[in-house]
Structure formats: C-alpha cells, structure tokens
Symmetry: C2
Subunit: 255 residues, 2 copies
Amino acid sequence: MSTPTAAICLIGDELLSGRTRDINVQHIAGFLGPYGIPVEEVRIVPDVQARIVEAVNALRERYTYVFTTGGIGPTHDDITADAIAAAFGVGIGKHPDVMAMLQARYDEIGTEFTEARQRMARIPDGASLIENPVSGAPGFQTGNVFTLAGVPSIVQGMLQDIGHRLERGVPVRSLTVRSAGLREGDVAEKLSRLNEELEGVSLGSYPWFRSVTDHGVALIARSTDEAKLREAGEKLVALVSGVGRESEVIEGEAS
Amino acid sequence: MSTPTAAICLIGDELLSGRTRDINVQHIAGFLGPYGIPVEEVRIVPDVQARIVEAVNALRERYTYVFTTGGIGPTHDDITADAIAAAFGVGIGKHPDVMAMLQARYDEIGTEFTEARQRMARIPDGASLIENPVSGAPGFQTGNVFTLAGVPSIVQGMLQDIGHRLERGVPVRSLTVRSAGLREGDVAEKLSRLNEELEGVSLGSYPWFRSVTDHGVALIARSTDEAKLREAGEKLVALVSGVGRESEVIEGEAS
C-alpha cells in the first residue's frame, strides 16, 4: 500500500513579515496524523498570484493532498480563489449555492450582502465546497487541493468537512522521552547505534535550551508498530537513565 | 537600488509533524526588517538530505540571502552541514578552529569531547563561521546561505554575528489599526479604493476570530515613506471610525 502524503501552502504577507505566528501547520498536521497522512513539505508564500500558482502547482504534483490557508476573505488582498483557478487553468465565478447561503446569512443578521462580501462566493469552476461552521463562507476542494481560510478557528472548523474525503494510510505512533538536564552529546553515539539497531522505528533528538538551568533533550521514537514502539521506549529510558537529571515518558502522541 | 531579499528554510521532521511550533521565522523576519530585507518565501523540509539540497538550491538562486535553521547538532539526524556541502558541491571536514574551540569548551566543563560532539565541528569547505554565544558550536555562512541552529535562543544569538555581513535595503515601516468588532466586509470596498488611491503604501487586512464576542480586524499600512504612512494611518482610522466597536493604533512596527 502506498502512503498518502500531504503538503501545506500558507498564503499571506503577514506570515512572512513575522507579524503573525502560524499555528495552522500544527492544526492540520495534528488532524492528518490519525489518518496516517504525513505532512512532508510546507511553503509560505506572499499574497502574489504568480507565487501562489507556482507553489500550488509544484506541491499538488508531488503530494497526495495539498492544503492552502489564507486569502479567501472579502478584501482586495484575498486572491487565493483566483490563484487556485489559475493554477488549475479553470474559470471562476460566483457559486449560486454559496450566494444563496451567504445572502440568507446576512439577511438573518441584518447586514448588507455587499459586492465585497460576494467575493467570498467566488469558487473555481468544478470545485466542491468545504463547510465553514464558524463564519459561513466556505472553503473548497479543487482536485487534490483543499483551500481553507487563514483564521485558525475557521481552519479547525473546515477540517471537520475534510476527513471523509481522505484516503487513509497507517498512522505513525510516537513515544517521547523528555530528559531535563540531558545534553545531546551525552547520548548521541548510543542513540545513533540504537537507531540502526531498531527496525521499523525512527529515532529523533530534539534539544531545548531556554536557559542555563532549563535545558534538556526530547528523544522521540516513531513507528507504525505499537510493539516496536514500546520496545524502543524502554531502550530510550534505559539510555537516558542516570545521565539526564530527570525524565518523563509521554506515550501515544500522533506526532 | 535593488532591494535585497531573503528566504528561510526550516529543517526538521518535528516542525512538519506539528510537534514543534516554529518561532524562528518571526525572529529572523523581525531581525531582517530594520535592514530593509523582506522575507519572501519560507519552506519547511524534512531531515532528508535530498530534500534539503533541493530546497536550498532553489532558494539561494532566487533570493539574495537564505537562512536555514536546524539539524546542526551532534546526533544522527543532524545532517544539515552535509546537505549544505552537497548543495554547493564542496567537501566537508572538521574545521580546526572549531575543533580547538569546542575542545577547550568541553575541557573547561569537564565533559568528554566525544566523536558525536566532534560532528558539530564539521563545516563545509570555504564556509565562514557564525558565532554561537549561547552554546558554543557555531553556524556557518556558505555563499549567500546562513546555516543556523534550530533552538530559538541559539538562533537569536547567532543572528548577532550576521548583520555586519548584510547588504541593506530601505526598511518598510508599518502602522496597524486594530478594530475590535469590525468585520472585513464592513470596510472591504473602501479599503480597496484606498489601497488604489494611496501611492507607495500597501494596505493589508487581517481578521481575527477567537469567539463570537472576541473578533475584529487589523488593518495594516506598509510603506518605506514615513509621511505617506502617517497619511494612510489617518485615513484608516477615519475608515473604521463608527464601524468597529473600538480601535487602537499601533505605530512603527517593522513588520
């Protein structure tokens, strides 16, 4: 069985300038984990159509699924829908179902459904809609590309309408041994040998260093096989035992 | 004068899996802002040499500067130095100055300078070193590519040894009008017209939506010209006046 894969394309000048710190990668990767779909690449591109088209076309050819975030609101800098249509070489227009749904929504709250708000009904030809339970205006799926909002709470809402469209892989389980006071160099040789010795398990080492007194290493084992993961966990605990100041084991994360 | 540009390549499975939320993009973009060097693209790639080589080569050809983070520690999954050497088609070996510096450092703290720790002295041929005031093991510059650690405090330390190497552009100043209760659709038409009307200023609209009671829009003007920025700010304040519940103006951010 081939493993489905995913890429994420974050769209927005505010992410590149550092004004906004992205959280959508974590939400999307965390959502895909239980489906057994690893995120293999992320790109952040500016609000420039040619750059969005280029990134989306590169990613959709290479990965099973692509998720874009941002740029589908009502303002002049919201150009993602047009960019996706251009990437796929299809037309774009106001989707009648979305027009009717948004009209009803704005009628209900007594707000004018302006020309700008109608921009949010622009959907590439042939795309299917992705429900937005938070603020109404939908995302959409074009081929293997899912176009979502940028606001994190809306992204999380839209993800609820995506799972049923996905092919499943085998979820990777992980086990983390966090060891305060440990330095990577203390265990690097042993860890490298263990990584070669354990079949079907991959080991990673992630140091943290917040201050001279608050530092350590998180050693992570990842595997699709629960028994192998458990064995790796025991060996990691043995490996750090007596080296780091203290350690804790966190089981079963999907990351 | 041509504007220097930058791209960032974040390296690490832990970022793609969602285990770690990146903060280095913000630190690097914030550092480059005052130099007038915009970040125009970010890629996140896994700990796989071919993928790192591909991304770094694509980015270094396109942008004035490339910053990589992650993968230069002592463990088996730290493969960035080798990947950079491969990307540039140069050799790699233990740098004598780094070997001497690390040896002295480990002697001082009474820790063995193991073979694994010596991996941190592996520097691509011809690279210049980037000082690491936090934990010793340096980053390095190869052509227009700066290779930094992944741990945020170390990245921030290393950036202090980079500014003097950079060509400067004209810094972009920004002014933010945050308006609670405002919805993008309330001002989208006027904002679009204002964006066309104001020369040398670019306007962006960034909604937040945390709950039904906590939502609003941040309108941001960006310009290299202080007077034009001030004029744009006044017009933005007038634009949201009486529409949003309340607004505040934040001046002079470099983002």
